[in-house]
């Protein structure tokens, strides 16, 4: 336990001592404000069905989450792209502890920053829509993003390359679900529902805890696979 705390401490220092995190968090907030503002205007015009500020913030999240996903992916894969992984593993040779520490740091930061982003989205949308602020969804966004962050870290550990990791991640979360949903076939819809992006939306918009469980399952699976690859493969 004390060792885990030391590893988390080291990963915490590492996270805040390159510029990546600042770029990513700034981008996330800007994307959230812009996305929520834009969707709120659509809603005001009657172009979309959603009308609550909370719902609009969830729509805005579809942009903002890209910055969080990029951050979580980079935290893991930059160790390989900059050649620091071997050094990192000499500090912390226990692979599962290292992955746990990285996941914990990313989960903590995305939980807090994601919640803040949620409040920003609601704060931007509410005045445009003229409804009173509905911030209840914000902590749920933080939770969703934290799980997605763990998913991205695990995936990065399994795949190692920043580009391949980000592509796979975006496919699963952003690109594939709408493609599956277009034909509106029951089978394809069921598959789409099981993907992390759609499950997350159901959790955020419909309060579906089944959706939350699905996202958590993806995160757990990616973590376990990442830990296994870290243990098995040469650094």
């Amino acid at each position: 336990m004390t060792m885990l705390r030391a590893t988390i401490g080291a990963e915490w220092i590492k996270l805040w001592t390159t510029r990546t995190v600042w770029w990513a968090l700034t981008a996330a907030l800007v994307l959230m404000a812009a996305g929520a503002g834009q969707y709120a205007l659509y809603a005001e015009n009657g172009d979309i069905d959603q009308t609550g500020a909370g719902e609009i913030a969830v729509l805005g999240l579809s942009f903002a989450q890209l910055a969080f996903l990029a951050l979580a992916t980079i935290v893991m894969t930059s160790e390989y792209s900059t050649g620091t992984m071997r050094a990192t593993l000499t500090w912390t040779p226990v692979r599962s502890r290292l992955l746990l520490a990285k996941s914990a740091v990313i989960a903590g930061v995305t939980l807090v920053a994601g919640t803040v982003a949620g409040f920003v989205g609601v704060a931007v949308a509410a005045p445009i829509l003229g409804n009173s602020s509905m911030g209840a969804v914000a902590p749920k966004m933080g939770l969703y993003l934290a799980l997605l962050g763990v998913f991205a870290v695990g995936l990065g550990a399994a795949l190692r390359g920043p580009v391949v990791s980000l592509v796979v991640l975006l496919m699963l979360v952003v690109v594939v679900p709408p493609l599956l949903q277009v034909p509106d076939l029951a089978v394809l819809n069921t598959i789409a529902d099981a993907l992390p992006g759609v499950a997350g939306q159901r959790f955020l918009l419909e309060n579906s805890y089944g959706g939350l469980v699905i996202v958590a399952a993806w995160a757990t699976a990616a973590f376990l696979i990442g830990a296994r690859v870290l243990r098995r493969r040469d650094a």
Binding site: G9, A10, A87, T90, W91, V94, R232, D234
Partner: protein, 236 residues
């Protein structure tokens, strides 16, 4: 603390990088690790640090695998390659994170920075460091935990003449304090001045494991002795 290799073997596909190395590296002396390009030196050192998994056999430090130590930086200091730090992080922050990971007091960071002569550049991002500055940062990291074992893969690479002389003295001092110092190098005249004992490998196999004097006897220089030992194992 003893480094023990037991029938250590590593294959990468069809290449056998390390082929049944069976030896001990003892404390209290500088052990030079020599061999042509591709002989398997770096692979051996990576296996000692549990970075590469041996195909068979094992490498132990004080009778235990590297990863069994809770605070490994206090047991072993290693310089593997000059690029051990994220280019966007300052040298000092790199060492602070490293110290934190092994519960080493932050004050020690400034001590080792001073020791390797990097204090003035400690707050610059490592991406701006010269080759030799990167090497010094690596050495600072190796010394951070005041470890009884030092493993250095071509540490002289990129150092200026002052740096070369400094690290020679440093390695000799560390060995004189009773530490185990294992250092790979291609600079034979430098090794002749630094090492007490030599391990020479070629194609992953042990060619010599003997005191410097013994290897030198009958030869004009270490270079001469080296060519005789490694004949036929060099890349071309």
């Amino acid at each position: 603390m003893l480094i023990t290799l037991e029938k250590l073997t590593k294959r990468f596909g069809a290449t056998t990088a390390v082929d049944g190395l069976d030896l001990e590296v003892r404390p209290g002396r500088v052990t030079g690790f020599l061999g042509p390009n591709g002989a398997g030196k770096s692979t051996t050192l990576r296996m000692i640090l549990d970075l590469d998994r041996p195909t068979s056999g094992r490498a132990l430090l004080g009778g235990r695998p590297y990863s069994s130590y809770a605070l490994p930086l206090r047991k072993v200091g290693a310089v593997l390659e000059a690029k051990a730090a994220h280019p966007g992080r300052t040298g000092r922050n790199h060492l602070l994170a490293m110290a934190r990971s092994n519960a080493i007091a932050p004050a020690r960071v400034d001590e080792v920075l001073e020791l390797v002569g990097l204090s003035k550049n400690a707050r610059k991002r490592t991406g701006t460091y010269s080759l030799g500055m990167g090497q010094r940062l690596g050495i600072a990291g190796a010394l951070l935990g005041d470890p009884p074992v030092l493993i250095l893969d071509e540490p002289v690479n990129g150092l200026d003449p002052d740096g070369v002389r400094w690290i020679r003295g440093l390695m000799r001092d560390l060995a004189a304090e009773g530490r185990t110092v294992l250092v790979s190098s291609h600079l034979l005249s430098e090794m002749q001045m630094t090492a007490d004992h030599l391990i020479v490998i070629g194609h992953g196999r042990l060619l010599a494991d003997a005191p410097l004097d013994e290897i030198l006897s009958g030869h004009a220089s270490l270079e001469d002795a080296y060519y005789t030992l490694t004949e036929g194992t060099a890349l071309r």
